[in-house]
Structure formats: structure tokens, C-alpha cells
Symmetry: C2
Subunit: 454 residues, 2 copies
């Protein structure tokens, strides 16, 4: 993993945030290639799950919601981590993670007494100082608080959203009233969430703020198992289509105690990091918990009518959630390979071409004005349809290495032969195989190879 | 403007946030069509100003930065609004806006004494209760504060970013160290900012959180005027290309007192709302203010080397800023038209086709299984390349009206003649003119008309 973090920084994918000021724990900034990669994954998701479908609409809700929403949703009461402190070195840590790391069992969501007992019975020591002297475990809320309104005396507490789903539930009535939708249908959203977590320094896997992609799929209660299975397949398929190695993926069902307060069934697609299997995507059956609570607390009728029976009911909901920020970390880790080319080690990111930040790089091989002009023209042509880079720094080995490390699927070299027969060398990233193609065919060749999610 | 706000809500562009709980002042949620429109504008900007250029890289920095950054940038001290309170009805309002509304002069950035004097001399009354009994004007900081870290005693204050520029400045060294960039070059970013403002209820023009698109363009000091003019042209051109009526646009130079603390020259592209000309885009010459301060406060060398002279210097910066959220409000307002079709009033959004949320809508004209099948097949084909809608609700007038109001440039009707000669009717939004085209040519026809920013 350290290799990945180093590559991510060295090649402009992900930097630790606020680095010149010594950083800010568990925040990360996406560099140029990280931003391009993230946007590509975002856009592919959007095409597949939103605009490519007839049963999905989208929203982009604000991060600040009326605070009553977070009370009704149960987040003010239940959106908590259980933390304990070492009395000796004052390390604060998550009690469940402490147990999981030591005993290799799932401990998330266990009651406080159970957590305390497990730690005591197994004499789990502080991972930092090695002592065994803990405070009792306590619950802490994960919502960041701030104050809206500049008037001190009338300031009102507001929360930064800890999940994007509530913005969807709050807009359910708007959508029903203004869009041509009928059960079953989904409301999708992409956006940032904030969680005041004690994090474990697992790169972008856990951070204070991160991007989610999610939809709530509204159904009749009787359809929930069928719909759950449908989206289970859809999520798994996309994970595979992204090019992630299937051998590092698995489904894991949440035990009852670890499920969120709103969920009746939760399964995660987990990815096998070097530090173990961790959640990549989540699939929850939230029942009618949220809409029912919002209906009760707001006094608004959030029922829909069954067109066949005329009965009114509050829809149930299946929620597929995709963590975008952590997915970028997974994609970098999963695509990272070291192989041998011409007897030398080569680092290469074998990213799926469709999400690779740069699709093509054009090099004029020699310092020659005519070659430079031809290469530049090709680059400008490619740029009309894809992200292309132009590099005339001259050392072909270095230029290839750079593009391999950012995962560019095709490098095109313009050389003296180009002057004679208008052909160029197209080199493929994974095999490093080269072929000569007519200049005029390069763009179509690459576009055809890469494909398009639009 | 009320017509626009009503249309935006009725047609699923923009809803007041948290509506079922009575709302949350000055926050807005984008509905399906608003989200699609916003994404299109975002993507066009990205293509034009970032990946379409060879002198631009991008980042996506976190919203939380090390708090020291906001001290160094001057925001903790200077990022303020001047507010006054009516002693009678306790309305709190911006002193400069009060003066501007009444006296029709620019008052932003005037010193406190000057503001107090203008209000007193002109006996400006409270707009709410009509009395003239104000507290003195005072400065209030616009940064939202929160606490990071769950441990009460060790919590540290953090700010939600009030501008996205600081994330760029903090990553300047990362970019210089890892990317192939040379002065002049830009670092671009899109993302959300938060400002704890007393707002005036001008729809999405001012809200507590909003999306910005921005870049910092790094130059040698001697190049600043030239670069300023270059981006001035580029910004104006894009405003025109977006299809905004040029007669409603103007440049306005900020007077010295209204410029931000970091700026040596600021001009705004202003748009003429019904409530007057207001900022749409901003162009600031920030000098080396930010990098110099960050260099001093962080102790890091943020100089670059002149490749010709070998001299090291801190680059100066020109900053074009584009408010994305408010731009959506402007585009809706600007595109809104009521004309007469067949003797009836028609509301139509004459959005530039390239940013229109939906490009095509397909209607089977009669309840007929074969027609339905043909129409569905065409819709599925279009969907591979653009956002298409399928509507078989049957009332052609209603279906056109709906698509006109969301700005869909092309509606395609499948009717009995289609069965005979495989042609369909393509209706153009602005002229409502219709023509018959072979089914097989529809997609290429529309794609060609709409164009592509990729």
C-alpha cells in the first residue's frame, strides 16, 4: 500500500491535504490525474445508473438540510461510533475496530457492555503503548456541527450531511409532484459527505470528507427481495466492468448487530486490501423507515397510490451506495503492477482504458520541427475527442515510463518514417507491443479500442 | 423572476431545500433537470478551460484545510460582511446593500464610519418596519466554523472553505513538483464553497453553499496586464457561447474600496437580473499575495525558476471565477420566453442545445403496439449518445408543452405513416417547425445539430 500512496503522490493522483502546513489528518486532495480518474468513474456511474435508464431521476441537494431532518432520520441519536481511551497514553480509538483487529470477529454495532466485556475478557491492550487500562467505551456522534446565521443569539445548529440519502428522502415529494415517475423508480445523487471519525490512516479508505454515489430505489414492500437481488447483480457487474480483479471481491452480509439503525438487510461488496477485506459498495434495505419518519415529523403525506388497487402506501426502499473516493484508492491499488520490460522493472497502472485519466500521449521522437508539427497536430486532433498529452521532452524511455505509471493506454510516436509514409507507432500499455498505423487512422483506432460510456 | 422560480420548481429544475420541513433559508436543491443542466455547464467549462488546453492542470482539494491556511490567506481577518440591526424590529441586514438599494451607488467595502455616515445622512429607514433606529454597523466573518476530532478537549476549529482558491494555492508546490508544468500555466478546480451570509432571497444568486468553477493562472508579474486581457476575452466569449443575451451582460470594474483584500484589480461580468446588474463571473488579479503569505507562514519555498535568467520568484496570479449555481439561475431566467403558438401562449426555455438537460423526446402518437415498439427502439438508440425521454402519455399538446418548458430542442413523433415509410416527424423547439426524416437518420441529424463539447 505504501507503494501506491507514493505513486499517487509522485504522479499527481492524490496528495495529503494541506501538506505545506504539515497536513490535516485524514484529508486528501486529488491531483490532476486523480481528478480526471474520479470524474471518469463518476461519469460512467452516471451513465449506467441514471441517464442510461428510464426508471431513474436525479437530484443535487444541498449539504445543509433543515436540522429536523437529521432528528427524524435518527442520525442525531444513532449515527455514532463507540470509542474508548487508553488511560495511560490517552490514545482514543474505536472499540469495535480494536476487537476486530485482535480477535478477527465482526464487532461493529455490538452493545457497549458487550464491547467492554470482550476487551476485558481478552485483555486487549492499547495498540500504541501496550498497556491494558481503558476507560469504558462510549458513543460519540459523527455529524459535524456548525452554526447558520450570523446573529449570535439566533444562530441555529446545522449539521454537515453524514449521508446523501436524506437529501433524496426530503425531495421525494417534490419528485413525485413534478416528475413523471411511477413505482418502481429511483432517485440518484452524487456528492460529498462528512463524518467526524477517528480514522485509521487507511489512505482514502476512511477520511473526514468523501464523495458518494447513491440512489434510493422506491418499491412496494412485497418487491423488496426481488429488487434487492436485482441491484446486487447490478453492483457486482459494475465492479467487474470497472476492471477490478474478481478474486479480490466478495459479498459479505452484515450481522444483525452491525446493521445501521435504519436497515433490515445490508450486504457489502468488499475489496481485499493489504489490511484485509473492507467495504467498497453497500446495499441496504431501508424499508419505509425514512419516509415514514419524515412523514410523521413533517406532517406531510408521503404516500403514493397503487394504480391498480387505489390503495395509498409509503414506498419501501433499496439503497445501493458506491463510495467514490475510496473506489479511486481501490482502482489505483488494484491496477498497480510491476512487470519486466526489456529486462527492467516497470511500474504500470493497468486501469480500464475507459476510466484511464489520459487516453493517449503523443511524442515527437526527434528534435525536428516538422515532426514536432505533425505530432502537435495529431495531439490537437485527439484532444477534440479524448484527453491527450503531448510530450517532447525527448527521452522515449522516460516518456513511456511516465505514461505507464499514470495508466495511459496508448502512446503514439512520430518519427522520421512518419515524414516518408505518414505512419506512426502506436504502443499499447499492457503488452508494450507496437504497430505502425496511418496518421489518419490513429484517432478512430484509439476511440474504437477505448469505447465510450456515452 | 417569480415566474422563473415557479417554473424551476414545477418542472423539476430547482426546489427550495428541506421544503417538507418548511425549508431552510437560502438553500436550494437541484432537481433532475437542474442537475442535468448544471452537469452540462460544468462539463463544458471543464472541456473548454481544462482538458481542451495544454497549459492547465486540475485538482479536487478537500473542503477542510489546515486552519492555518485561512489565517495566512487573510480570510479569518478580512472575509467579512458589514451588518447592522434595526433596534425596533431586529432585522439584521448588510449595511452596504441597504445603501446600494436606496442610493444606487456601490457601497461594498466602504469603511464602517463611511457606511454609518451614509445611512445617517440619508436617513435610510429599515426596509422591514420603516423605522430609522439602527445599531452601528459591525463586521462579521463569513466562514462557517466546525470542530474536527471527537475528543472534546482536543477538538480543533476548522472552517468550511469560503473560496476554492486556497486549495489550489496549497497544492501549488505539489503540482510544481509532480506535473510537467511551466509558467505560464493554470490550476483549475470545481467544487462547493460555503458562506455564512445574510442573504437577500435572490433565488440561487446568493445562497449559503454554492458551486464554483475557477482557476488560478500563474504568471510572471510583468505579464499580468496582458494575461488579464486574455482571460477577459475568454470569459466574455464563453458567456456568449452559452447563449446568454449579450444585451444583458456587461463588464464592471470594482472600485478600490470594494475589491477583496487580496486583489489589485477586479472586474465582474455582470448579468442584468430584474433586480439589477449583479456579478456572474469575476476576474481578479491576486498578485503574489496568497503564495507569498503561504510561503512565509509555512516556511516552504514556493518560488519557481525563470528558465532564461535562472532567477527564482513567486509567481503572480490571475483568477477567473465562474459561479456555477448562480449561472444556472441566470441561464433559466435568460432562456425563459413566452411566445404564441397556434394562438396560444407557450412557455419555452430557449437553452443552448448543448446544455439543454434533455436533447430529444420520443412520442408514439397513437396507442398502437407497433408504433410503441418503434418509438421505444428509437429512444433506446438515442439514449446511447444523449439524454432522451420517452413519453407515451398520449396528449401531443401536453407532451410538447412539457418538453418546451424543460428546453428539449427536438421532439420526435412516431405515427401511422412511420409504419408505411419508416419516417418520423422531428419538431424543432424554437420555431416549432416540423419535418419528416427517415428513422435511420434521426440520431445523426440531432447529434449534428446539437454539436458536442467533447
Amino acid at each position: 500500500m505504501d507503494d501506491i500512496i507514493a505513486l499517487a503522490k509522485r504522479r499527481g493522483f492524490i496528495y495529503p491535504s494541506s501538506l505545506i502546513y504539515g497536513g490535516l489528518a485524514n484529508t486528501w486532495d486529488f491531483g490532476h490525474y486523480g481528478t480526471l480518474l474520479k470524474n471518469n468513474v463518476r461519469d460512467w456511474w452516471w451513465k449506467r445508473f441514471v441517464i442510461g435508464r428510464d426508471d431513474m431521476v436525479s437530484i443535487d441537494a444541498s449539504i445543509f438540510l433543515n436540522p429536523k431532518a437529521w432528528e427524524a432520520s435518527g442520525h442525531v441519536e444513532n449515527f455514532t461510533d463507540v470509542l474508548i481511551d487508553c488511560k495511560i497514553c490517552h490514545t482514543r480509538t474505536r472499540a469495535d475496530h480494536l476487537i476486530e483487529d485482535k480477535l478477527k470477529i465482526q464487532a461493529e454495532g455490538l452493545p457497549l457492555e458487550k464491547l467492554n466485556k470482550l476487551i476485558a475478557d481478552n485483555k486487549i491492550k492499547c495498540p500504541k503503548c501496550g498497556n491494558f487500562d481503558w476507560t469504558p467505551a462510549r458513543k460519540f456522534n459523527l455529524l459535524f456541527e456548525t452554526k447558520i446565521g450570523i446573529v449570535e443569539e439566533s444562530q441555529s445548529t446545522a449539521y454537515l450531511r453524514g449521508e446523501i440519502a436524506q437529501g433524496i428522502f426530503l425531495n421525494f415529494k417534490n419528485i413525485i409532484d413534478t416528475m413523471r415517475v411511477r413505482i418502481p423508480f429511483g432517485i440518484a445523487q452524487q456528492g460529498k459527505v462528512f463524518r467526524n471519525e477517528i480514522t485509521l490512516g487507511q489512505f482514502v479508505h476512511r477520511s473526514l470528507e468523501f464523495d458518494l454515489m447513491e440512489f434510493e430505489y422506491f418499491i412496494k414492500e412485497s418487491e423488496w427481495q426481488k429488487t434487492y437481488e436485482y441491484w446486487r447483480e447490478g453492483m457486482w457487474k459494475w465492479a467487474k466492468d470497472l476492471g477490478i480483479r474478481e478474486t479480490r471481491l466478495r459479498w459479505r452480509e452484515h450481522e444483525e448487530h452491525e446493521r445501521s439503525h435504519y436497515s433490515k438487510r445490508t450486504m457489502d461488496v468488499e475489496y481485499e486490501y493489504p489490511f484485509g477485506f473492507k467495504e467498497m459498495f453497500g446495499l441496504a434495505y431501508r424499508t419505509d423507515f425514512d419516509l415514514k419518519n419524515h412523514s410523521e415529523k413533517s406532517g406531510k403525506d408521503l404516500r403514493v397510490m397503487d394504480p391498480h388497487t387505489g390503495d395509498k402506501y409509503i414506498p419501501h426502499v433499496i439503497e445501493p451506495t458506491f463510495g467514490l473516493s475510496r473506489l479511486i484508492g481501490i482502482l489505483l491499488y488494484d491496477a498497480y503492477k510491476v512487470d519486466t520490460v526489456n529486462g527492467k522493472d516497470r511500474v504500470v497502472l493497468k486501469l480500464h482504458p475507459i476510466i484511464a485519466p489520459v487516453k493517449a500521449a503523443v511524442f515527437p521522437l526527434q528534435k525536428d520541427e516538422v515532426l514536432h508539427g505533425i505530432a502537435k497536430k495529431l495531439h490537437d486532433e485527439l484532444k477534440q475527442s479524448m484527453v491527450s498529452e503531448f510530450d517532447d521532452s525527448g527521452n522515449i524511455g522516460k516518456m513511456y515510463r511516465r505514461q505507464d505509471e499514470i495508466g495511459t493506454p496508448y502512446c503514439i510516436t512520430v518519427d522520421y518514417q512518419t515524414k516518408e509514409d505518414s505512419t506512426v507507432t502506436v504502443r499499447e500499455r499492457d503488452t508494450t507491443s507496437q504497430q505502425r498505423l496511418p496518421l489518419s487512422e490513429v484517432k478512430a483506432y484509439i476511440m474504437n479500442k477505448i469505447g465510450s460510456f456515452y
